[in-house]
Symmetry: C2
């Protein structure tokens, strides 16, 4: 059915190996033969079969990107530049959407169809990165990290970002402070929370238990957690949200309750996704260079593929405060 290099060889009047060499510009094929083979291949519409090539070369030219939360715009924003960078370096990108407990996913990563894997949504106790490490598959942990694993990582300064916000709150005179935090098995949540609490403490402030809400990284959760915070017990005057999606959910919750932001309450996010800059949102948040982080991760995985035994590299992207319209002084 499909056209093979044997078909091309027959048409060009050469052997199959010569076709293989000619199409990849092997220097030991005469220019004349190369042209003849090229023409035959073109006229037949020949495309090198991936399974055959991959079986023969024991490499695939494909890198997997594992992401669980495509619905969170942070991830598409991360994946697009990753794809572009890898593509420019001659690698194809396979997006593996990790939808929870699908055992097929792990197999997809280790069945030999990928040269390397970039994990973006690992949890602290994830088995997948450990299994990949065990099998020696080149891997980069992007964004979220896993404990006690010798692997390349590429992260943002979550603790530093949280500290920026803690100091902003302190500068604005807030004393009753709340936080809406992502699930704690994401390293970003853990590091952000620790960084936040630590920085508050340095300013003589604290984050009491009942001012913390923990849940998924969704706007729905942001909204419901915010409503809870504003209706149960004492009302906070400033709310730190672990990412922009949660923060936007909190803004939705405020709208529903008729609470004015920033006059009644300050809401701040983290990531600076594109939506945060929309006029209808106008969220004060912490900026990270997402494309820059993606390019660094692309670089790391290619280095790792080239040299599987080099010591692990840890790249950390710096952060900066973006003051927009959702913060204000304590009243």
């Amino acid at each position: 059915m499909a056209i093979t290099s044997h078909d091309v060889a027959r048409l060009a009047g050469v052997s199959q190996p010569t076709v293989s060499r000619a199409l990849r510009d092997h220097p030991r094929v005469s220019l004349e033969t190369r042209a003849k083979v090229r023409e035959a291949a073109k006229s037949l519409g020949y495309v090198t079969n991936h399974a055959g090539r991959s079986l023969s070369t024991l490499s695939t030219g494909r890198i997997g990107i594992v992401s669980a939360e495509l619905g969170n715009p942070f991830y598409p924003a991360l994946i697009a530049p990753l794809h572009d960078e890898l593509s420019a370096r001659g690698y194809r990108t396979i997006l593996v959407t990790d939808r929870g407990s699908d055992p097929l996913e792990l197999e997809t990563l280790i069945d030999g169809s990928l040269d390397g894997v970039i994990l973006t949504t690992s949890e602290i106790d994830s088995e997948i990165p450990r299994e990949l490490a065990r099998r020696g598959l080149p891997m980069v942990l992007l964004n979220r990290v896993v404990d006690d694993l010798k692997a390349d990582t590429c992260t943002t300064d979550d603790a530093g970002g949280a500290a920026l916000i803690a100091n902003l709150f302190a500068d604005l005179g807030h004393t009753c402070i709340a936080a809406i935090i992502g699930h704690p098995n994401a390293s970003t949540s853990r590091d952000g929370q620790l960084g936040f609490v630590h920085a508050l403490a340095e300013r003589g402030l604290e984050l009491p238990e009942d001012m913390i809400r923990i849940g998924p990284f969704t706007s729905q959760f942001g909204a419901s957690a915010f409503r809870e915070l504003m209706t149960d017990g004492e009302r906070p005057t400033a709310v730190y949200c672990m990412n922009d999606v949660i923060a936007i959910g909190a803004l939705n919750g405020a709208k529903e309750l008729g609470i004015d932001v920033p006059n009644d309450v300050t809401i701040v996010g983290l990531d600076d996704i594109e939506m945060a800059s929309w006029s209808t949102i106008n969220l004060t948040t912490v900026h990270t260079d997402i494309p820059g982080m993606a390019r660094a991760a692309a670089d790391l995985i290619l280095k790792r593929i080239a040299n599987p035994t080099a010591p692990p590299i840890h790249h950390q992207e710096s952060v900066s405060l973006v003051l927009r319209g959702t913060h204000g002084p304590a009243h």
Copy 2:
């Protein structure tokens, strides 16, 4: 380096073909041997090599989804249920992000590494679907369609949705009506525009040239087009946006200009993505059953793979109006 079925065979004391059969529960392998092989495979951590299997069976168990605009939340919302449905039916999903003129992309689709392809962002004159058709690769056109091609399609009733909006505008008494439309080489744009103009005409209304803005499906374009419409010449009192992302951009533009929605102007979108229901957005729009459409597309591609020569099927998803907070009567 990697474990092969030969290694398992050696450990289990059987031949390689027996390993192959045992692991796939071939009935002609004794239960005893199956257990022995399973144990050997498990202890070695054996995973079937994809290239080998694919080369031998001439099928891959993988379906490609081609999407260009992951940043538009419509597509992740479409891809997630597609992935789930295909996964439940035993197929893996490969997301191929089509980033414009990358010639590698086409090769990725036709190099034999996919059993079928679902195209979500084809343009009317796209070469890719035609090339796939020429090569007889099973294919479904989802969301956007291509002219003069015998292929399965799965679309929403774009013209019907646009007509719902036209009638809403007419019912509300609007006479000065504008439209912000996506690029015209997307079939959804063309059909939506035609349906809109036609339905307006039936109500004795029209859409003048200078009330139309055409551009990409982004919120940035929605905002800039809206600002133009409100500052050049006569001001429309109702603006039809070709999708929710553009509509939200228009809302941003309105905010920047200090224009009140819906008192000063009516803005309506199309798709009913999740963001449209957020309290901070609260967009009046047209609802489509996105997961339902995805499931239908999954069904179509699997049917097509099972029977490549059956006549093409055209699935159309119906639509309904969702009245929220961005429409109002003409003043």
